[in-house]
Symmetry: C2
Subunit: 376 residues, 2 copies
């Protein structure tokens, strides 16, 4: 196994790419979907079962982990991999996005941000330097630069100011990250939906130099059309030979559209969160297992799916345990959704390698257009 972090592109099809990220903790096949293990667990899943769905890498959240159990405690306990029993690569975000979306009483300055915990109201501080320290204590393999995300809606001027602050923070992140062989630091492009700002941000990041580049500030309510609009040009501003990570995306059709536009990595809570709210994702679209139409249905969610939920249980059972608020409903639906997402990624990788992405995408949309199987 390699002792350094590297990325090899093995095939392209149009703007879409497939390849392999190598790390000392294992390979990440791209395009990759990263399940989210917010607070040291992918909710309702054992890590060996997350791996069994085909996940090569998990995402952990700096904001949640710094508050509880704290980065220092995780470090004393041997790091996040050991703590949560996942020995493959972990990417941690920088905390910037969650501070914006979850914390109370934020106070922003050039230096960083102070805020109060949403758990107990305690006061905390994040800066590029502290975020790098926390992510080092957690032991993450892919570290994200600390950035600021403006609350939407925002004027173009506010987006520009915020992006330039994030670029100054990106440089401080790079300096604070230091020399850590086998670990990677990714910069995060900002600039909202404004092409000039995206280009300026990308240029600033390339000037600093990172092992990978994220596209931030999307999937925050702008809608798929606006997001794809940015993805039509933004990946092209980034170096060809480094992985491109679209943060917080998304629904299956968002993922397919992003991969078509040259994205290599994504993460989203959607498959696991949906599992806990009774939503399943299949080749034929979304299934609401709460719906009474499933009450007597002996068929699996998707007869072509090989996940445990589809292999061994009827829609009627899944409906029953969801309605009865049984934990197994979250366990089985989350497993199914993560399995479906990873199967989709494998399909995309195979199609790109074969130069048949167009056919794959057409079949993907055709199956969804059919909709769910007819009620019995």
């Amino acid at each position: 196994m390699t002792q350094r972090f590297s990325f090899e592109l093995t095939a392209t099809d149009g703007r879409a790419r497939t390849g392999v990220i190598s790390t000392p903790r294992g390979e990440i096949r791209t395009p990759a979907f990263m399940p989210v293990g917010t607070a040291g667990t992918v909710k309702a899943m054992l890590p060996e079962n997350v791996r069994a769905t085909g996940a090569d890498i998990l995402l952990g959240n700096t904001y949640h982990l710094m508050l509880r159990p704290t980065a220092e405690r995780v470090a004393r306990l041997g790091g996040l991999h050991r703590f949560m029993n996942w020995d493959r690569p972990i990417l941690t975000d920088s905390g910037g996005f969650q501070v914006m979306s979850l914390a109370d009483l934020r106070k922003l300055s050039e230096e960083g941000v102070t805020f109060r915990s949403h758990i107990d109201g305690s006061k905390h501080h994040l800066s590029p330097e502290r975020s790098m320290e926390i992510q080092r204590l957690l032991g993450s393999d892919i570290v994200m630069a600390f950035d600021e995300c403006p609350a939407l809606p925002a004027t173009e001027e506010a987006v520009a100011q915020s992006m330039r602050l994030s670029m100054r923070w990106a440089r401080r992140s790079r300096e604070a990250f230091g020399d850590r062989p086998g670990h990677a630091l990714f910069g995060i492009m900002q600039g909202g939906v404004t092409r000039d700002l995206r280009e300026e941000s990308a240029a600033a990041l390339r000037e600093i130099g990172f092992e990978g580049y994220a596209i931030g500030g999307l999937a925050v309510g702008e809608g798929q059309e606006a997001m794809f609009g940015v993805l039509d040009y933004a990946p092209g501003f980034l170096p060809e030979d480094r992985p491109r990570y679209l943060m917080g995306v998304g629904k299956p059709d968002d993922i397919v559209g992003a991969v078509e536009r040259g994205v290599d990595m994504m993460d989203c809570v959607l498959p696991s969160r949906s599992g806990r709210t009774g939503q399943a994702w299949t080749r034929r679209g979304q299934v609401n297992i709460k719906n009474a139409r499933h009450m007597d249905d002996p068929r699996p969610l998707d007869e072509a799916c090989s996940c445990p939920a589809c292999r061994s249980y009827s829609r009627a059972y899944l409906h029953h345990v969801f309605r009865a608020q049984e934990i197994i409903a979250s366990m089985l639906l989350t497993w199914h959704n993560l399995h479906y997402y990873q199967e989709l990624m494998q399909g995309l990788r195979t199609a790109i390698a074969a130069g048949r992405l167009g056919e794959f995408v057409a079949a993907f949309h055709a199956a969804r257009a059919e909709g769910d199987i007819e009620p019995l």
Copy 2:
């Protein structure tokens, strides 16, 4: 595999017994502990993992299943085994106990009992005949006779009246059960803590004749001393050559004491319920994982335990995920508790077979007397 239900005693040690119940769906090694899968799931566990802990048989609850998803629906879907993905033996209770403890507005007559659902207030009826029908629709391997449990505290006269009603219902249950090769009907001894009533009840049941005999009306708040007092004589009133099932028991030391007194089968929600409330059972007693002493503890719950929670996670992790209300806390602690219970049963079976139960029980109590490992 056998096509009939049978019980073979293979060894005894004092009053304790070990043996095998054979059914068309597999063998049940006794003494057996049956995890409770109330509404079609052992909470927070996948059935294959319940099996991996060593469970030979599960218990399902007639009361819960008749209300939701209904016995008729389960039958249309192929029976409870298929519905919940458990192909080994299932014992169902008769519904009598839960009607007493959970339902609203009960109305009792010689014929049976009407009540309102605790879920939606809908009106339902149970009688010996309807309970037999429901348990047949569910497809359970071991069917329990329909009985009445008096609310405690009760006068001896009330306990006697209730027991005699249950004995008349036991006869009606036997008649309604019919001829079902491979399936068993168990009668339930009642009579509270009064020896004469227990003897009268046992005689009535033996006169009717059952494939097995349960001891009901214990573990309902009378305390361990009173329960053991009854178990000092009650099993002796029952036929030697049929399994004896103590309903709703219990804590590990209750189980050991019951096995010493000649009990072959038990069930209890305790290991799974405790798992969801942060209580773990180990060789050294009870561990409250919520306690702050575990916050920095890198050691497993029990270093000698081979369950996934102990093999791969620290007390600090279990503490963290419990405090963060993560589903994995319920999953891992339930798994550990069920594993511990089954390991205890295997220890009891092996000790009885070797004629060394006394030593085993002494070591069991000695380890518990030591208490949990010292904090770091």
